[in-house]
Amino acid sequence: MTNNPIHHRHIKTALTIRLVEEKFLQLFSEGKLNGTVHTCVGQEFSALAFAGQLKKKDFVFSNHRCHGHYIAFTDDVRGLLAELLGKETGTCGGIGSSQHLCNNNFFSNGIQGGIVPVAAGYALGNKLKKNGAIGLVYIGDGTLGEGALYETMNIISKWEIPLLIVCENNFYAQSTAQQVNLAGDIESRAAAFGINTYKGYTSSPEELLSKAEEVISYVRDECKPAFFLVETYRLNPHSKGDDDRDPAEIEKFRNNDYLEIFQKTNPVYYNQYQTEITNEIDVLLSDIFNDSDLALDKYYSPKVPVENADWMALDPIGKRQVELLNTFFKDKMVADELTVFIGEDILSPYGGAFKVAKDLSFIAPERTFSTPISESAIMGISNGLALNGFKPFAEIMFGDFITLAFDQIVNHASKFYHMFNKKVSCPVVVRTPMGGRRGYGPTHSQTLDKFLIGIDNVKTVALNTFFDPAVLYHSISSEIHPVIVIENKIDYGKKILNHQSPNYYYERTDDLYPVVRVRPILSKPTLTIVSYGGMADLINTILNDIFVETDLKPELIIPSLISEMPVHLIADSLEESGKLLFVEEGSASGGIGAELAAQVAEYTDFKYVFRRIAALPVPVPSVKSLENLVIPDKNRIIQEIKYYFT
């Protein structure tokens, strides 16, 4: 314990944080708080030292224990109080509450490691904007168990991203003591990535404040990352009742706590400040209690679907899909300085595993980022860039690997807009090639689309070979919310509308996400087939075989926005044909066909027959003969149509 005096301004802020949190605990015990609270009582000076010493243009990413960081950075006590009381006037309208705050460059999320790459992406955006702003991300010692942190430390070091990681080590991950789970040393983890590391103690606030100031300058001036380990101790439980620590241990730290000591050594000041702040909080609260809750329609109102009945004829384009994609991205990178392309192995001349990124790093090297094998970081960094106003296009080399980025899609990208009460949006785009028929085997041939269509606020788009993919990418570019784009490995090499079955009319709607329809020129269809992506391409080539073999006149409908199926168009066709078939390359259970069946059933009031054809529920085998059986091929599709419908 140092006896060096520190500025009373800091003491008042620290005391404000403590008194606000103690008020939260009181309100909670009175049943006035919905949810939970994680207090940082005992750790306040870490908030002051870092978040409190940043500039307004800088930003902070924090975690579940974020009240101190929030007050230190924004000084917005009322917004925080109202937020936790679930009021519309809260910083996030009561949607986020304790763990999910957003206000003037301050963000917090209840997911631990996941916030680190997002912060790195945001900081990368600042670096690209050359605005001199830096980033700060608070993690706890518990976060050291998550891999996203290490993916990100590697990248921020390599790319020299101005991000300061502050690790608040309070020696407990929730209720588990550190020695149970933490191996080795903390600082040397960051040091191993070539990141400058520092250490300080909340029990020595003055030293901590000056060291923090020094590190902040380093990150800003050198435009490099840094890692600061703050040893601290929380005097309260992790949340509220979950405390099995030795009371003697807690007492020892309480006696060493700066504010406790200040109370004893400067009772007059302490009492004066305490009274002032408590009064201030009580006045705010009495006001806040009169505020109303957010109305549902301000949070969510269902979209009225746009039904566009304008159909336009389709024409072949003598170019391969991958060429058209590459052309789109080259044009986009040149035309829009906020476009960023990021993914593994995308530097030219290699230009990515499927060559979509060819020459991009020649055209816009500063905005083309070839990453290590770090899908979580790729996605998180893209999310951060998107929050910072960029339009990132993240490439996941194989669709199979999107599971490694899933936390970033579901818990970050998808949620920011709503959980931060529409203060920000995350217009990130993630592209990935799915599908088999190349013999790549179980982990490089999957179609995982079914896991991707039900994510709220995320559009899932599947390219097809019927029209220029640039049409879709233009629409995607102007989205303000996340979009997942399913591309197809086989389709990359195909020319647009290269095959046209005789006696069919090829057309598409004039929508942002066009629906393609392949219909008999004259006849009424007697079978409606819905399929998309690579499978739609296959179906198109066998339309005539289907007719000859099964005696059914098929109409093929190909949605491109597979997360919002064109149910009305499908129902129109179905009303004529009475038979609906969905063919998907993934397996059936819990699949896209299941969702379609439910939606069509809800929409229609006539009788029809519905069937699915899908992959068998086993990993896609590499051996060709088996792969052709597991993923529906021509023969199986025709056989099953015959079996089901005739």
């Binding site: 006696n503 008999p520 020129i521 004259l522 006849s523 007719f547 000859v548 005696d551 006149k553």
Partner: protein
Amino acid sequence: MALLQEIKVPLLSVNDTSLTIIDTPFTSGEKVDTGQVIVVFETSKTSYEVTAETPGYIQYLCSNGDDYEVNEVVVKIFSDSKDIDLSVETPVKKIKKLAPINTKEWSGETQFSSGAKKLLEENELSSDLFKGYDFVSKEDVMAIMVSSPKTKKNKLANSVSQMPKQTRLDIIDYKISSGKKIEIDYLSDVQQAGLTSTVHIYVDTAFIFGHLNNALKALKNSILPLVIYESSRLLKKYPLLNAFYNSDSISVYKDINPGFAIDIGKGLKVLNVKNAGELSIQHIEEKILDLSGKYLDDKLELEHLTDITFTITDLSAEGTFLFKPLVNFMNSSILGISSIDTKLNRCVLSMTFDHRITEGKLVAGFLQELKIRLESYRSDNQSLMNQDVMCFKCRKKLKDDLADVGFSKCITPKGDEAYICQSCFKGY
């Protein structure tokens, strides 16, 4: 004076249900000689000339460039020019030009399903019939075949078109639907000869459903499945009733495929209960339900409508006492079922037959045997039937009555005869 020759619009291809007259070389009243071309039709593929078979005086009932439906009389030749009333305007009503089957202009190559190809081959039909189609499925081929009985491998009398009758009274003309015309064609085949006769018999139906209803799932209290079942078996003994008149010979079917006539909103159709002689009553009931379902869902296929060797028509649901059914084409007999008279416990069966093939004695014998067979289903045990007796007040059934006293016969306040349970009778 005599009418020597009548020229009707011929059916030249199944696609052409009407033809255009493109040449009338003479004018009405002129003399024509044998062999002279007197009218020329245009079909979808070629032109077709008709020549005079006899010298005489010509009367055109048509005009050049107009369309006329198949079988309409367009030209007549008389022995005497006085027979021709030139003041009479062409009485044949010309029809509006029919829209082509496919309204869009299209001339691509038609795709045939393998089922359609097979069907075309089997029926010796030309794929040219489907010019202008994009896709031709089995169903498309069947539609063409069903809409025109002429495509079938049998000859039918052209009975539909006759000279329109004249009257001085005001009348309203309703056009006969094509479906009805087909029906007329089918029924004319046998009836036109005028040599049919009908024999009626009654069947005692008292308690006939006692056991039968236990066997039937859906068609309870219907005698149709039983009649199909028993008549199919009995027909083996009466082959002449499972036959048809074929010019100078009698053709007897080896198979027994009774058809039952159905008309519930989608036109009169006769549906084939194939090989009913080999089926159980339950199977026959299933078959009836299945075919009726297909009829209602428009899912009938050619095989359901063809190769019927004997017809049963059931008007029992219509409150009929007795009626005279008409023999279907390529059949020699038809069995009609009238309604069951619940007071008299009887139902009349009527059989119309082609007298060119058989005579009333044989048919009466058939009916007599059928009657015996049907009546053998009557339950001796009336109590079985009475299990379904219901209290008119509380709708409790006798078999559900736990009082073990039985029901009383009574007259309801409305004056109907009914049953009442003891509880209701006593008033609680």
